[in-house]
């Protein structure tokens, strides 16, 4: 290989990256940096010409003192945890049950994927319709089976709103978790189980010592995806509750969007955004560290 072709290789390798770097850099990294920058300014969209006014940490202080930022963190975290636990446990059971590849199960599998293909706004509308207080089918079914005695306003009642949005989220995300775990299960060599059985291992032991360790990579990435998806969930809340009732579903995403595009106060919106971007970044660094340490 000549020296000429080596520099050529290097140049070619860099050139191929240029389109992606331009698009991702210009429309993700640049706005991220700008968001952090705006968060320290008095920046309202209502003013036409904008001399940005530095106001130090006033945006952050205002948010903190109103208690809205803490509330949003709490709600977001609560939502994420509910959905994660439900999706992971149900998904795991479902994949263990359907890990056989009979024909009927393959058909059931593609049917089970359908919620994952349903656009999020349509998921939100569909569940709003089913949770509807007067004509909603969920109320009818729960009353029919005597679980509740009178109709509930699922999305307008402060006690049920967050859980109701979580049901819609679980419905859409369950198929993804299921498919990921199923693929992981099918990657486990059958001989492992045979050998374990010969050695006298109980099904429970093979689950803890073969199935789970083999699934580790899949579990790590699908849990991370689920956490991030729910941390930034926007369309479900915006369409189903808009952050109400009484702030009980006002997540970080809703608080950011309301401040920026309803109150037209970009500075405050950016401050919310910056605080949870930082949280997510720290979290994911920590997350990978934890999983690395658990490696053996």
């Amino acid at each position: 290989m000549t020296r000429n072709s080596k520099t050529g290789d290097r140049l070619f390798g860099v050139l191929l990256l240029v389109p992606s770097i331009l698009i991702v850099g210009g429309f993700i990294f640049l706005p991220v940096i700008q968001s952090v920058y705006y968060s320290f300014f008095d920046f309202k969209l209502t003013r036409k010409k904008l001399p940005l006014l530095w106001n130090g940490g006033a945006n952050y202080r205002g948010l903190w003192e109103s208690g809205k930022l803490q509330n949003a963190f709490f709600i977001t975290f609560q939502f994420m945890l509910i959905v994660l636990i439900a999706v992971f446990l149900i998904g795991l059971l479902m994949s263990l049950a359907m890990n056989k590849g009979r024909k009927a199960e393959r058909t059931a599998r593609s049917l089970a994927l359908l919620p994952w293909g349903t656009p999020t706004v349509i998921v939100a509308l569909l569940w709003s319709w089913m949770f509807q207080p007067e004509y909603g089918v969920v109320n009818f079914l729960l009353m029919h089976f005597k679980i509740i005695s009178e109709p509930l306003g699922f999305l307008v009642n402060p006690d049920t709103a967050l859980a109701s949005v979580a049901v819609a989220a679980v419905w859409r995300q369950l198929p993804f978790m299921f498919i990921m775990l199923l693929a992981g299960l099918q990657g486990i060599p059958a001989e492992m189980y045979e050998a374990a059985e010969i050695d006298g291992a109980s099904p429970r032991q093979s689950f803890w010592h073969i199935t789970l360790p083999f699934l580790r990579n899949v579990i790590r990435s699908s849990i991370l995806v689920t956490i991030i998806t729910n941390f930034k969930q926007f369309p479900l809340f915006w369409t189903m509750t808009g952050g109400g009732p009484m702030g009980r579903t006002e997540t970080l995403a809703i608080l950011t969007y309301k401040n920026a595009f309803v109150n037209l106060n970009f500075g405050v919106g950016a401050a919310v955004a910056a605080s949870w971007m930082l949280t997510l970044i720290l979290f994911s660094l920590l997350y990978n560290r934890i999983f690395k340490e658990a490696e053996y």
């Binding site: 992606s20 700008q34 656009p119 349509i122 693929a183 059958a190 990579n217």
Partner: protein, 278 residues
Amino acid sequence: MKHRWKTSGLPGWIGFIILMIFLLFPLYWLIITSFKHNMDIYRFPPQFIPRNFTLANYRAILNDNSVVRYLFNNLLVSSGTTLLTLAAASLAGYSLSRYSSVFGSVTRTALLSTQMFPIVGLILALYVIFRNLNLINTRFSLILSLSAVTIPFSTILIKGFFDDIPRSLEEAARIDGCPRLKTLFSIIMPLSKPGLLAIGLFTFMQAWDDFLFAITFILKDSKRTLSAGIAMKFLGEVSYDWAQVTTVSVAGVLPMFILIFLFQRNMVTGLTAGAVKG
């Protein structure tokens, strides 16, 4: 095979059936609501099998120009995003797979880190950027912003597919004097069709799902895409017109369902290729 986990008898089956009902009943409900007369929709107890089957809601939607336009705009934006993402991500993925360098590994880390940034967090700054570029109220702004979101994941995914193609192919081509770009397009790309198909499908589905960009950058009804269009048109009023909402929703869901039935296998391989390797 028989040593894998067995469905534990009757309780397992009951659990499985309840789960399938949970996953499928809402879709059944969506579809039958769209075939009901308006007066039957607001009946309590509801009809689980529509008694007066009607196509009136579908006729109304087809005659409503704006709904057809939402669908068309959604198709345009999703296809544009898919093409742009395929082009950019396949080049970048190839570079990361074959031409390793410090620059490349920095780029790879940067791309991976974008998965962490919440779109809602950067959308206000993005709005300012598009306003300065005079791209507010254009479908192009949606294509650009959606591509920025889909390119990182697609690049990482397609890199995995390129990694599986033996390097000896390129070496042989080089000895024959074939230029690098030609090698890429006439030898490597055709071999990576499954990977390209997978990232194309994911990108299309993600673009089809977009709501946030569309409600923020598009203020003209004629440029709206489906999700934003439904939300703005049918939910702004005091009482929702559920017959119309469910009918438009069926139209929005159908293309995705067709894709899932046709390409389920490709999507699953694509999704899990990245995850299983870790």
